[in-house]
Amino acid sequence: MARKRRDFWWSVTLLAFLTVLAFLVYPLATVLVTSFTGEEKRFVLAENYSRFFSHRYYYSSVVNSLYLSALATLGALVVGTTLAFAVARYPLPGKTFLRTAANLALLSPPFIGAYSWVVLFGRMGLVNRALSTFGWSLPTIYGWRGILLVFVVQYFPFVFLLTSAALRSVDQSVEDAALSLGSPPRRTFRTAILPIIAPSLTAGALLTFMATMADFGTPMIIGEGLHTLPTLMYGEFINELGGNPAMASTLGSLLILVNTAALMAQRYYAFRKAYNVVCIQPLTVRRTPARRRLALTVFAYGVVCVALIPSTTILISSFMPTRGPVMYAGFSLQSYQTIFHVIPRAITNTFFLTALAVVLDVLLGVLVAYLLARRRSRAHALLDALIMLAYAIPGTVVGVGLIVVYNRPPIILTGTWIILLVSYFIRHLPYPVRSCTAMLQQIDIRVEEASVSLGVPPFRTFLKVTIPLMFPAILSGAALAWMTTIGELSSSILLYSGPWATMSVAIFTEVFSNHFGTASALASILIVAAFIPLFLTYRVLGERAALGM
């Protein structure tokens, strides 16, 4: 029996390693090797390093990135956890709406999302023009304050999602015990509840930090001269004029270094602070005085409204009549007619590829998460780091690597949809892995041991006991993967071919050729496409939670 169990998990480990090596490590290594070989390039690389560290213009990008990401992570933690607690513990109206809407912020379709901030809050944006009639004006959206605002608003759902899932696994008895032992509520939170949700909380913070470190769309559009690592790197890598791959590699290695360090810090912390709990009765909703309830409602809806600004702007623009790049006030279905006429396949392509990638992510993700949480070893720690690498590395680099490796025998994937699937799968695998690992760290291993000792074979225990316990994390991991995959642009633009253009590619080309109407219409469909599964997810989760799962 023991032998068989070991065989299964051993082959899962092997499969996971092979997958990551074939689709991530090998392509990346090929990219790095090709950009470092050759006398001339090596010289350029050395020159780049000295250039990088001797000019404020360059090294300030590291400082800017670290500073912005740290502040944004802090902001996302505050907003995300507060909202998670408000929704989980207080009787707020419209919780399903709040949960779903908060997550929509994560789906800021490429380019056009950040653009909507300029449309509204730019120097001549709608809001500033409206305010100027009263002689008022808002502080500028450009520069680091604007970036910080957009980052917090866009990425707090990472913290919110993971913290909410973790809160659902805290048993009411934990709190009751602390309170009955005379611990005041605040201290109960700090000493009893916070430690249990800490792995999820830090996982959310990590995702935020890494996402903000790698985000280039926002600083590019509203940075106005403020450079961050990804904007500099994107400029050097995808450059109308060929660019400087060695400089891009220099910047890329720095980015990977910072993100890997953050990852290691979180892993270290989560391992040390992992507490196991059995959740029979989830935390109850608290009775609260009306004033506090009102304040929390205002806060929650305020946050969600700000988070919905980009999506709302896009939705409204998609129904505006356009002439070339210029939009006019009014109502028209013109943009939708154009997309169904010009690019109908992009929509079915996106659904097909995203659904398949998410299913694969969840299948492998759940198994890998189990390995990482239950069978800690050096090999598994390495596997963890390698999988998270996918998250830290810009899609463009992954895309180039996949083309270079899979455009030659023995395996040729370029020109087919499989290469898109591979990229989506490998780049979004970290989501289910992270959410499930965090969850497993809270589920007491004794539950599984009890099942095994009652005579249920280990693998059956895994299926019948562990998986149902992990269900909220699986769903939220799948939801995150779905949302981020459906709008994936950076590798799609390099990997798609012929009829396999996705919606994000179509949005990019429409924005690129100044057709904001059609781009908005496509983006609106994208938003709805992400919204419906999320909404359903929360309906399901909500019921399960009520049943005491």
Binding site: G235, E240, G242, G243, R323, V326, N407, T414, L494, Y496
Partner: protein, 338 residues
């Protein structure tokens, strides 16, 4: 067994049909039944031209990849061992000149109808449409009286921090502007002083599209960009105006080229010829506001004819061969002034 034979027969039949349907056999050799086009052109323009091509050559299926010049070049370099594309169409000329090794020289049969100087000596690229570079201004923020008339007018103190210009190391059109100023004010310290002064006035943006979008939306009063982008906003009714600077300006085309070792070289040639045929060039002018490279096609309605615009002699070879040094010095100027 019978089943297999049926399949084989079926396949033969299909192959014969395809061969018959493959259409006219050009002088260059038999065209293949498909062609893969990489283009940085507007998606709507791509669709219009592809539809017309497939109508004219029903046996050739066109598949397209639409992306920016930078992405296209990255993709081609990654695919170098086994190219998947056949032809690039309407991308930045500098990129083609810079990556000559990726392309196959070709002289289109339409070249005789082009304006003079539109075909390079090495024949590596074919022009698609051509455009002048302009100063674009927002009429709500800039009055007719104070609008700049020359490149140097942008140095006026009142435009400090209000001139939108994309980073020349990131945008092909911005690089052409940079070389334009160097050509006018000297390819020496004097010219670079002008560039530095201009950069001190400017908001240097990471993408050329942000320049014309920003001016059209009123984020910046003045932008330095190319005519066609500005013209689209003008046609759409945005409150903007175009200025052809009095010192003269560059008028250069975007380019197409055959990809070296392409899987469908003959169909690619047909496609490339088709993009510069009279009917397609007419379509570009009438529907997309582009300027034709052909002598027998007029200017878009609402734009001055090319011979009314003061042109400089834009030295493409200088721009291409000295690119690394020019961009390095530009980067230094940027570091110094930003």
């Amino acid at each position: 067994m019978g089943r297999i034979r049926g399949w084989v027969l079926g396949m033969c039949l299909v192959a014969c049909l395809l061969a018959v349907a493959a259409g006219p056999v050009g002088a260059q050799g038999k065209p293949e039944d498909s062609v893969v086009v990489y283009s940085a052109f507007d998606a709507h323009g791509v669709n219009a031209v592809v539809a017309a091509f497939e109508k004219k050559y029903p046996g050739i299926k066109v598949s397209t990849v639409v992306a920016g010049t930078g992405e296209i070049i990255k993709r081609m370099e990654a695919e170098k061992e086994r190219p998947l594309g056949d032809v690039v169409w309407s991308i930045g000329l500098d990129a083609i000149v810079d990556k000559k090794g990726l392309f196959e020289p070709y002289l289109t049969k339409e070249a005789g109808s082009f304006f003079p100087g539109q075909v390079p000596a090495d024949r590596v690229w074919t022009p698609f449409t051509t455009m002048p570079y302009v100063i674009m201004y927002n009429k709500k923020l800039v009055s007719e009286a104070e609008k700049p008339k020359a490149w140097k007018d942008a140095l006026d103190a009142k435009w400090k921090g209000k001139v939108a210009y994309a980073d020349a190391s990131k945008s092909g059109s911005s690089y052409i502007l940079l070389v334009t100023w160097l050509s006018i004010y000297g390819k020496n310290d004097a010219g670079w002083k002008f560039v530095e002064d201009l950069l001190r006035q400017s908001k240097v943006l990471p993408k050329s599209s942000m320049t014309y979008q920003g001016v059209a939306n009123g984020e910046y009063p003045i932008g330095l960009t190319f005519e066609q982008a500005a013209f689209e906003y003008l046609k759409g009714g945005a409150p903007i105006g175009l200025i052809y600077p009095s010192e003269g300006t560059a008028i250069t085309p975007d380019g197409s080229a055959l990809i070296r070792n392409a899987p469908h070289p003959n169909a690619a040639k047909l496609f490339l010829d088709f993009t510069v045929s009279k009917e397609m060039q007419d379509l570009m002018v009438d529907r997309f506001g582009r300027r034709s490279v052909r002598k027998d096609v007029g200017s878009p309605a609402g734009l001055p004819a090319l011979d009314q615009i003061k042109a400089i002699n834009y030295d493409l070879d200088y721009a291409a061969t000295n690119r690394t040094q020019i961009l390095k010095r530009f980067q230094d100027a940027l570091i110094k002034t930003q």
